[in-house]
């Protein structure tokens, strides 16, 4: 007989974490105790996208009581080295700007003070003298000849370019019946954790050692980057992580420049320093996913079979190439053929630098940018050839029975049966019913579309994939890099209780639950008998450069390593128990908290008693049996080899399969999309905890929904950052997120100890193209730009407007493009004064002083150049600004162009307006004006919704005042001002 066992793995056991998290007892970064003398750090950030730093005056900030230290880029540089850059290029990457700022939000100075309040007061007292440089925002414009260069030492904005060729793509294209192409501009976004960055740093001058606690998530290769930058050996940078995480999704990899800054601040201030990032800082300057311009062509046979792909990718990594970038571009390199059996591939990869925030890890990491063009292209092939999209997918899938399958670009697809999983999804997910729903909706005149997409979800990254960015020669010189070392320790204490530690940092994946399941099963123990410690400490714990929590490696790699460590201990415990039970070791079973004889369950010992033997009576262990106190396993899979000389790379160990389909209806009244059905089929290998797998799928789906319809880190043409609040960076909430139908197909991975694969990122890759394909199906649209905002949907859904015939009451406003934050407007005013009199007023400082809103005096520099101090604002939002105004294109008594720049604490603005004067019927002057203005800095980042109206208010005030002035000269008939006000209200 056998001892009955009920395993923990594979069941949705209650999460160990939840009791604390749901009752407010989480221990997040900001909750941790700090030393009593800890000071607080605040960071001054660049208000503009691109400028030379002429000077930073910190004297007033230093003098503020409660301030301990003020540091600029030069001060930081004196204590550090530049951060390591992942490509061979002549650039320096510093955590704080030195001679130039390159993106809105780039740190330029920092203050350490008794409180964050005082530190922020001190930031207000720092005077920045910036000389603006032309901003480079668009990645293609960055490559244009004559484009402003961000890093003069590099001489170009193209920091890396590589071309790849696999199979014979030229012959395939030459021989193909069709060449079908798509162009995609994938936007910037982020997965936006609830908890922002946080760091507490301390410096011990006696040992020249830093001790930092940060909600960093890994990879711990970044520890090396920080130690090198801080100019200490690795053992003098002790990096610890808190027990709980308020989410990361990759984003908390990007904290490392702040680890360096906080450590340096602590050294300068001579005390521990704490920095907690606020939401505005996080949105504008933590890390974004990359935006990418992709031109993708397929060589296609008449039946839709794709024989070759030609990728041209321009990756925008922002202002600095921060480690591990350009990894976003190379993470998918082995998977550039998606789920398809395509043997010929050409790839051109260019990495460009622009005046935007640096990029880094983000859930999906390169997948969304790559699958959106690929899966939109597969639909386009169906459209262009008059085929069913589903058939095009089916004809190209990697066939059943082909696994393990080596892709053209080098990935080794570990396991799966894609056609079978797809067929199961169609059946279980009700695809036939969905087709009927679409037919019924369309018969009623409703806008309804179906979308499809497939994806391979890679997990457990090969540390060596990033070296594909180097040429084979460069790689040969640098030596091979590969692997994915996972580290786990299982320990037993003198009372026989089990503790698990792993070199991974939880971000909500339920580490403590899953590891307790895995180890509990190994020892036949209940969940509660195993305790998992998820804090990491590089000074005490075993770890490797690949440690951390990224690339969906927890279930496959980390939990597998824990299983191996537990199994090693179990083998020894079995030997000890066998001796005590007087049986052969192969008869020992672990179940129900006991270690027993398989053939005679009454012959048993409590697990704890056997487990404690190694502590209490080490001399009694059987000959040749090692201690059972602690076992650490370092696991790396053999399949993760270094890139080959032909640039083939197995970029990830595991490859899940996803097939999504959905129905989307678009409301004919509002243009708003509604997801009617969403079905997502996953093959993620062995499922360890079904509830958490479902949570991963739902989370990825919600974030993909954000990327599809809501979220963008939008920049103005001038580089102003426009999404600095969660009102302007709208993430879908539970109200906007429908329930996806989640299906599973199970092909265990032969390459991981538990058969598990990653599942955390897949829907970030599959869902945007699936939803966009449905919108295309509903509307007939060819090109879709994400996010599909209401304005973009309106253009797809509503017929063109016919503006009413203008009666000449107001000039038409200049066309403004949706989403662009160049403000434009136009208006007019009628005044009683003659043209010449109005002209004189516009050129007279005294008049200007009277009519510029909030002017505190106007200084004439030349006849056409004025300076003023002005208070501008609407409602309670007011601040004082320095204004610089110039007149040009002067056409005497007929027209003049006013251009101006204002700068103040809340931001800066620049604008240009053309004023024309003409005679009014019946006397007086008609003043007409058109303006364009750009607003930058904090006010643009957090007040975008109101800028248009605010500009109108302020400019309207100017012309109201001008009209009052012109009417006040005696020539105006009574009641003019009232009429003017009415007019201005209507037109301004």
């Amino acid at each position: 007989m056998t001892v009955a066992t009920e395993t923990l793995v594979g069941r949705s056991v209650p999460r160990v974490e939840d009791a604390a998290l749901l009752t407010g007892r989480g221990r997040y970064m900001d909750d941790l105790p700090v030393r009593r003398d800890t000071a607080h750090l605040a960071i001054l950030r660049s208000p503009v996208a691109h400028a030379a730093i002429r000077g930073i005056d910190t004297a007033r900030a230093r003098a503020l009581p409660g301030v301990h230290a003020v540091l600029t880029g030069a001060d930081v540089a004196a204590l550090t080295r530049p951060m390591t850059v992942g490509v061979k290029a002549d650039v320096e990457c510093w955590p704080m700007a030195r001679d130039r700022v390159r993106y809105v939000g780039e740190p330029v100075a920092m203050v350490v003070a008794d409180s964050r309040y005082i530190a922020e007061d001190a930031l207000d007292l720092i005077a920045l003298d910036l000389a603006p440089l032309p901003p480079v925002i668009d990645p293609e414009a960055a490559l244009a000849p004559g484009a402003e260069v961000l890093h003069p030492s590099l001489g170009t904005n193209l920091i890396n370019e590589r071309r790849f060729r696999y199979g014979d793509p030229e012959a395939a294209f030459a021989g193909a019946a069709h060449r079908i192409s798509i162009e995609v501009r994938y936007p910037r976004n982020s997965c936006t954790p609830i908890e922002c960055y946080g760091v507490v740093g301390e410096y011990d001058p006696g040992e020249d050692a830093y001790d930092v606690t940060a909600n960093f998530q890994g990879p711990f290769s970044i520890h090396a980057v920080c130690a090198l930058a801080l100019k200490v050996p690795g053992n003098r940078l002790r990096l610890r992580t808190p027990p709980d995480s308020g989410g990361s999704f990759g984003v908390k990899q990007g904290i490392f420049p702040y680890v360096i800054l906080t450590a340096v601040a602590a050294r300068a201030a001579g005390r521990p320093v704490k920095w907690i990032e606020d939401r505005l800082e996080h949105l504008m300057a933590s890390v974004s996913a990359t935006n990418r311009v992709t031109r993708l062509s397929a060589a296609v046979e008449p039946d839709g079979r794709v024989t070759a792909l030609d990728w041209d990718q321009i990756e925008d990594c922002g202002a600095h190439l921060r480690a591990p970038e350009p990894a976003t571009l190379y993470r998918m390199h082995g998977n550039m053929t998606g789920a398809y059996d395509i043997r010929n591939v050409a790839i051109r990869n260019r990495v460009v630098l622009t005046n935007k925030a640096p990029t880094g890890l983000n859930r999906g990491f390169g997948g969304p940018q790559m699958y959106f063009p690929l899966e939109r292209l597969m639909r386009r092939i169906a459209e262009d050839l008059g085929l069913d999209h589903l058939d095009v997918i089916r004809r190209n899938l990697v066939p059943s029975g082909a696994f393990p399958y080596r892709t053209a670009t080098g990935a080794l697809l570990d396991s799966g049966d894609y056609p079978a999983a797809l067929a199961a999804a169609l059946e279980e997910g009700g695809y036939a019913d969905l087709l009927a729903r679409r037919d019924a909706a369309r018969a009623e005149g409703r806008l309804y579309g179906i979308g499809l997409s497939v994806a391979i979800e890679p997990s457990i990254s090969n540390m060596g994939y990033i070296t594909t960015v180097l040429t084979p020669d460069q790689r040969a010189k640098a030596g091979p890099k590969n692997g994915a070392q996972a580290v786990a320790t299982v320990a037993i204490d003198p009372l026989g209780a089990v503790t698990v530690k792993v070199a991974s940092v939880p971000q909500g994946q339920g580490h403590r639950t899953v590891l307790a399941q895995v180890v509990g099963d190994t020892f036949g123990l209940p969940l509660t008998a195993v305790r998992v410690n998820t804090e990491m400490d590089t000074g005490r714990d075993p770890w490797s450069i690949a440690s951390g929590n990224y690339s969906s490696r927890f279930a496959g790699a980390v939990a597998g390593a824990a299983r191996m460590a537990a199994e090693r201990l179990r083998g020894r415990l079995a030997a000890i128990a066998a001796a005590q039970l007087n049986i052969r070791p192969d008869r020992v079973v672990f179940a129900g908290g006991r270690i027993a004889d398989r053939d005679n369950p009454d012959n048993a010992l409590p697990f704890t008693r056997v487990a404690a033997t190694s502590h209490w009576a080490p001399a009694t262990l059987p000959e040749g049996t090692a201690q059972t106190i602690s076992e650490t396993v370092f696991w790396t899979p053999d399949q993760l080899e270094a890139p080959t000389a032909e640039d083939g790379v197995n970029s990830s160990l595991c490859h899940g399969f996803i097939f999504d389909f959905c129905g989307v209806e678009i409301d004919r009244t509002t243009g708003q999309p509604r997801i009617d059905r969403y079905v997502t089929m996953h093959d993620c290998g062995t499922i360890l905890h079904p509830g958490m797998v479902e949570g991963q799928v739902r989370g990825g789906f919600a974030q993909a929904l954000g990327a599809t319809f809501y979220e963008e880190f939008a920049y103005g043409e001038d580089g102003a950052f426009l999404a600095g609040t969660l009102a302007d960076y709208p993430m879908p909430t539970v109200m906007e997120t429908p329930e996806p139908r989640i299906l599973h197909f199970t092909s265990p991975s032969p390459f991981t100890p538990l058969g598990a694969k990653g599942v955390g990122e897949g829907n970030c890759m599959s869902t945007p193209s699936c939803l966009a394909n449905a919108v295309a199906d509903a509307t007939g649209a060819r090109d879709l730009q994400l996010p599909l905002t209401p304005a973009r949907m309106a253009d797809l859904v509503f017929p063109p407007e016919t503006p009413p015939a203008r009666t000449g009451t107001a000039p038409a406003p200049p066309a403004a493009r949706p989403g662009e934050r160049a403000l434009t407007g136009a208006g007019r005013a009628e005044v009683a004064a003659a043209r010449a009199a109005v002209w004189d007023m516009l050129l007279d400082p005294a008049t200007l002083a009277a009519i510029i809103p909030g002017a505190h005096g106007v200084e004439r520099v030349t006849d056409t150049h004025f300076r003023a101090e002005v208070t501008l604002g609407v409602g309670p939002v007011k601040d004082r600004y320095r204004a610089d105004i110039r007149l040009s294109d002067m056409d005497l008594h007929r027209g003049v162009t006013l251009s101006g720049v204002v700068e103040g604490g809340l931001g800066s603005g620049r604008g240009e307006g053309r004023i024309t004067l003409s005679d009014r019927d019946g006397g007086g002057t008609l003043i007409e004006y058109r303006y364009t203005a750009g607003v930058g800095g904090k006010v643009a980042s957090v007040g975008g919704r109101l800028l248009d109206g605010a500009a109108r208010v302020v400019i309207g005030q100017f012309f109201q005042a001008l009209a009052r002035h012109a009417g006040g000269g005696g020539a105006a008939p009574r009641g003019l001002i009232a009429r003017l006000r009415a007019l201005l209200r209507r037109n301004a």
Binding site: E120, L722, T789, P818
Partner: protein, 275 residues
């Protein structure tokens, strides 16, 4: 994201509030529920020298049914009005509109008069006040005055309130018999600032449409009743008359479409629910 230093005053009486306002004028800001002002303070967009907390003036948290009008005192939170038992009967437009204001949590804090004073161009309560032809009751140490809503809203976040005045109450006309009310709004997400919010009132005297989120202030128009062939042209005229804004979330063109399409929808709905 910490505010600069300011003096915090918490008067016990309305008279003290008025004295404080008279003394500090534009340097003082009244704190209601704080749902707009506190983020502005934390982002240092607003830097008042003095913050006057009005939330302890519980004697002003009164909803008074005066027959023709419902008077809502300055201390009344949005949630309090939302749950006033007579609301669906006496102010059916507000009963429909209030659930669109932010979220349960923000309505529990935000006050009715505070929203009117803030005059956000997308806000629902200013829209309803204007649509119904309500009044704003202003009080300073010098005097009291009542302004009709259409004279109160002057521009984006700008009103006719003088620096030494506070809004003592607002009055909404009670729904007359034979009138139907409807409200709809489109936002990026539930609870976001409205891209367009539209209130429709249809009664014996004709139809009224009021629109927020499109122009810098809420705007009100008299319109032909639904069924009249002139309605579509009139809505199109309104769409072009309004100074529709472009912003990060929506284009002026989309806002005009919503004026036409939601405008028609709410008027039809209002006509259908006349009681």
């Amino acid at each position: 994201m910490k505010p600069p230093a300011f003096d915090f005053l918490r008067p016990d009486t309305v008279a003290e509030v008025l004295d404080t306002l008279a003394r500090h004028g534009g340097a003082a800001v009244l704190l209601g529920g704080g749902q707009s002002l506190v983020p502005m303070l934390n982002m240092r967009l607003s830097r008042p020298a003095v913050l006057i907390d009005t939330l302890r003036l519980t004697q002003t948290a009164v909803i008074e049914d005066r027959g023709d009008t419902i008077r809502v005192g300055m201390g009344v939170r949005q949630a309090q009005l939302e749950h006033w038992p007579a609301l669906p009967r006496r102010l059916p437009l507000l009963a429909r509109a209030i659930p669109w204001i932010g979220h349960v949590q923000t309505r529990a804090r935000g006050t009715v008069c505070g929203s009117v004073a803030h005059a956000d161009p997308s806000a629902e309560l200013p829209l309803c006040l204007l649509a119904l032809g309500g009044h704003v009751h202003l009080r300073s140490r010098r005097k009291t005055r009542d302004l009709p809503a259409d004279q109160f809203f002057a521009g984006m976040m700008s009103t006719a309130r003088a620096e030494d005045e506070m809004i003592e109450a607002v009055s909404f006309p009670a729904a007359p018999p034979g009138t139907g009310h409807a409200f709809r709004e489109v936002a990026r997400r539930h609870g976001d600032f409205a891209i367009a919010a539209v209130a429709g009132i249809v009664g014996p005297a004709g139809a009224t449409l009021a629109i927020a989120g499109v122009d810098d202030i809420p705007r009100r128009f008299a319109l032909p009743a639904p069924g009249d062939s002139a309605l579509d042209d009139a809505l199109d005229g309104i769409a072009w008359t309004l100074n529709a804004r472009d912003d990060l979330h929506a284009s002026a063109r989309y806002r005009r479409e919503l004026v036409r399409r939601l405008g028609r929808a709410v008027l039809e709905e209002a006509a259908a629910c006349r009681i």
